[in-house]
């Protein structure tokens, strides 16, 4: 088989310029790599000695245990041959679909690349015998792969004197001696059992989604069926469903398959907050790229793409590195060393692909208030497993435990202010909502503080502590902006009451006063903590405006719905060859939205009129605040994982079951959308429709109900 494959020998010409006359150079016999030593590497895994051990696998087979894997576009191995020698032939066994570069250098600094083409129409590992003309080098580099399939090489031999019979210099393995290696994961007995039952070792997103759909439908059945005498049984069943849903948020222990911690989120929020003074909103990726470069990963950065956070566009890593040289001047020597340590911690805990993707995201965007709190926590120590967490348990680190605690506190707050039934419905929604599933922000760092503050705010207003409630809602607004919507109906109520009865509603006024005091304290405090004064808020405003004009595939809301067209979805317009493959999609979504601006304006105005009518018919500031959630998806499009803001819509005490059923029906519909659409932008467009309809329905329900007695208004 090997002999047949060698008939595919490729002749490649034109390589490195020889430093002298090749005929005058010594010509060692045998495989030149046998006497060479490894002098550099990047992004390869599995022992590099496998490359020159004289062992190949059967043609077309792939034994991962026998291959060196090249894990990025920049991955390579570099050999020092000890002296400048002519290389006249190379034997390479590598993935058939992979194009790989053989590079020659006389000094180890400048390289002449030499492309080895894939084997068309073939699969698995294929052996190629290459005749090399004019290839003289002391250093030889193999790598920087491209193409399809696994990026693997099982054998490389270089010859000055090519062997007369290529099959005499290799030994063919008949079977993989260690089939467990290279598969990535070894399975525990529980995983094996799950594999036998379902065909996958992990609980997949689809499986989890179906389970959550069933939980939602069960909860709706429990809420709608049975008379008053079954009330206790219904409560028990609802509690059981809520418990299963809470665990469902964590995909019943599968987390991020299998890690609990969301490293991508942690990198942005931990590093972004800790070094905000130096990085601001626009330098996270370029300084991280420089840190990578200083750790010997220059080539990886140069061959990759990085998002330029000052323009929100993807650019080549090389151009970012040029600009990043200023980063070191922004840090003290100690802080730069700390920054490099923290960056390397997250880089080392992430796959190479994932790390490169991290540097193409949208940067660090929280407000200075969040930065004040997050920065204080991140500065507790260097990034470490003990501080952050690791493995498949939520109890392995301090910071990753904060969000589960906040979620529990949110539910406890609902119990305190709105009762058990409301808390159970909220738990089912939070656990089953596929738009805010664990994969997005689960296992992250202080990502649920806005939800806790929002729910605490409306709960405090409900429990007749409006000033504190206003302060809590103000905190939520200052960290995520959109909770400002909760003040809108309160302000509307106050204005309507002032017009109708010539007096100010006391509760509403106290909510707004509490909020004003919180803003007066938190804004200056965060400006001081940021180290940049009020410029931090100016930068935050500019950065938020920049993000708002950048369409993303996972936005949910009326603007996302109106800007969607099947003909401009990502699958159709994505251009993988461009530096920014999504640029065309982004432009098209912007154009689509511009074309329907008048329609959008009409819809928003109509909604706000209905909203004002609903606000005038709600009882007091508490119910008014709860209604605020409905305005969020109409006037904005937020990342899907913020849709937890819908929780307050199910909390009003009157019409509780009706709204709960509406929320759970919407959640079930979202699960169906999740199961039906594989593309993120299509899924979010349909999800936007569901969320907009639900929000409009709740407002319509409030607007069309009987007007409460005048004495009750503002009570």
């Amino acid at each position: 088989v090997l002999a047949t494959s060698l008939a595919f020998a490729l002749v490649v010409a034109g390589v490195a310029s020889p430093p002298g006359d090749a005929r005058a150079l010594p010509c060692p016999t045998g495989n030149l790599l046998a006497a060479a030593h490894l002098s550099g590497w990047l992004d390869t895994s599995h022992p590099s000695a496998l490359l020159g051990d004289g062992v190949v696998v059967p043609e077309g087979a792939f034994f991962p245990s026998q291959a060196v894997l090249f894990e990025s576009d920049a991955a390579s191995l570099t050999y020092d041959l000890g002296a400048v020698v002519p290389v006249r032939a190379a034997l390479l066994q590598a993935s058939a679909g992979m194009r790989i570069s053989l590079q020659a250098s006389g000094d180890g600094r400048t390289w002449r690349p030499y492309s080895i083409a894939p084997v068309p129409g073939a699969a698995g590992m294929r052996t190629r015998m290459l005749s090399l003309d004019d290839f003289v080098a002391r250093y030889v580099r193999v790598g920087e792969p491209s193409g399809d399939g696994p990026r693997a090489v099982t054998e490389l031999q270089l010859f000055c004197e090519p062997p007369s019979d290529a099959s005499s210099v290799v030994r063919v393995l008949t079977q993989d001696p260690d089939p467990g290696t290279g598969g990535g994961f070894l399975l525990t007995p529980a995983r094996r059992l799950w594999l036998a039952l379902t065909g996958t070792p992990w609980l997949t997103e689809d499986q989890a989604n179906v389970a959550k759909l069933l939980l939602c439908l069960s909860a709706i059945a429990v809420l709608t069926l049975g008379g008053a005498r079954w009330s206790r049984a219904r409560g028990v069943m609802l509690a059981a469903i809520a418990l299963a849903s809470c665990l469902g948020y964590y995909d019943w222990g599968s987390y991020h398959h299998p890690d609990y911690v969301h490293e991508h989120e942690f990198f942005h929020y931990f590093v972004g907050a800790k070094y905000f003074r130096e990085l601001g909103y626009s330098r996270l990726y370029e300084c991280a790229s420089l840190a990578d470069s200083e750790e010997g990963l220059t080539r990886r950065v140069e061959l990759g793409t990085v998002r330029d956070l000052s323009t929100n566009e993807l650019v080549s890593g090389g151009s970012v590195l040029t600009r990043a040289q200023q980063c070191r001047d922004l840090f003290s020597a100690t802080r730069w060393a700390d920054f490099k340590h923290d960056v390397s911690y997250f880089r080392d805990h992430t796959s190479i692909d994932r790390w490169q993707h991290d540097l193409r995201d949208h940067g660090y965007n929280p407000s200075p208030v969040w930065t004040m709190l997050g920065g204080a926590l991140a500065n507790l120590g260097p990034a470490s497993r003990g501080l952050i967490g690791h493995g498949d348990s939520m109890f392995n680190g301090c910071l990753a435990l904060l969000d589960p605690v906040l979620l529990l506190a949110t539910l406890a707050t609902i119990v305190w202010a709105f009762g058990w039934r409301s808390a159970l419905v909220a738990a089912i929604f939070l656990g089953c909502n596929p738009l805010a599933r664990y994969a997005w922000t689960g296992g992250a760092f202080l990502r649920q503080d806005w939800l806790m503050a929002t729910v605490l705010g409306v709960a405090l207003v409900e429990r007749d502590k409006p000033a504190l409630g206003g302060a809590s809602l103000a905190y939520a607004t200052l960290v995520r902006l959109f909770p400002a919507a909760f003040f809108v109906p309160i302000a509307m109520q106050a204005a309507l009451a002032l017009r109708a009865r010539r007096r100010v509603e006391r509760a509403g006024l106290r909510v707004l006063t509490g909020a004003a005091i919180a803003v007066a304290v938190l804004v200056p405090a965060s400006a001081v903590a940021s180290g940049a004064g009020l410029a931090a808020w100016r930068d935050f405003a500019q950065n938020s405006a920049r993000q708002a004009t950048t369409p993303s595939a996972n936005l949910v809301g009326l603007p996302a719905l109106l800007s969607y067209r099947p003909s401009t979805r990502a699958e159709v317009l994505v251009e993988p060859a461009r530096i920014d493959p999504m640029a065309t999609v982004t432009d098209a979504r912007r154009r689509n939205l511009r074309a329907v601006r008048p329609l959008q304006a009409v819809l928003v105005v109509a909604f706000l009129l209905l909203f004002a009518r609903a606000a005038s018919r709600t009882r007091g500031a508490s119910e008014g605040a709860l209604l605020g959630a409905a305005a969020i998806p109409i006037v904005s499009a937020l990342s899907s994982y913020y849709t937890s803001y819908l929780v307050p819509l199910a909390l009003p005490r009157d019409d509780r079951d009706g709204r709960a059923i509406g929320l759970l029906l919407s959640t079930a519909a979202l699960c169906v959308v999740q199961a039906s659409c594989s593309e993120e932008d299509v899924r979010c467009a349909w999800s936007s429709l569901v969320v907009v309809l639900f929000a409009s329905w709740t407002v319509w329900r409030s607007a069309t109900r009987a007007v409460p007695a005048a004495a009750e208004v503002g009570a």
């Binding site: 490894l38 590497w41 290696t181 399975l187 498949d392």
Partner: protein, 182 residues
């Protein structure tokens, strides 16, 4: 209790004991793996100190009046730094004997080049600091080697081959035979 019930109980107890024993064994390897990671972090911190001193030494040498000895030593140092920068050690690389050996050799070459430049540039004070940094680096490598050896010993004796925390195969660690940097 009927015989089948007794048998079931016995099997259950034995399974529980085996499970607990396996967990204890795995926990030992996880702890040893984490301990070695911590030691490796200390090695990287020591490397960072040496890098800082290298930069300082390079700046001082370039600021001096040029001489052939200093110029050659600077060139050697730049070459050695170039070599080490092409050898990023990831967790996977710590399991690769070829890479570990090449890395150790490159660090040693770099230390020699640094000392030669310090002598040629007559940077006496920095030379002293470099000596301390080299000794601390060597000590950090020795501590890592001890932790890696303890971890590898556990791998050899434990029966399981998957990390219960991650499901991934435990990777062996190459022990550095002698302290690097001399």
């Amino acid at each position: 209790m009927t015989p089948p019930a007794r048998l079931s109980c016995g099997v259950s107890v034995a399974a529980a004991i085996l499970f607990l024993a396996a967990c204890r064994s795995s926990d030992g390897r996880v702890a040893a793996d984490l301990a070695a990671d911590d030691r490796w972090t200390a090695v990287q911190a020591a490397l960072e100190v040496r890098r800082g001193l290298s930069r300082e030494l390079g700046s001082q040498a370039r600021a001096r009046a040029p001489s052939e000895g200093v110029t050659l030593a600077l060139q050697d140092l730049d070459d050695a730094r170039l070599r080490t920068s092409g050898m990023p050690m990831s967790r996977d690389d710590l399991a690769d004997p070829s890479k570990a050996s090449a890395w150790q050799k490159a660090q040693s070459t770099l230390a020699h080049a640094r000392r030669a430049l310090a002598r040629a540039a007559e940077a006496t004070e920095l030379e002293g600091q470099l000596d301390v940094a080299d000794r601390e680096f060597a000590a950090a490598v020795a501590r890592y080697t001890a932790a890696a050896t303890a971890y590898d010993d556990l791998l050899r004796t434990a029966g399981l081959d998957a990390n219960p925390l991650t499901g991934r195969r435990f990777l062996p660690r190459v022990a550095f035979a002698t302290p690097a940097g001399d």
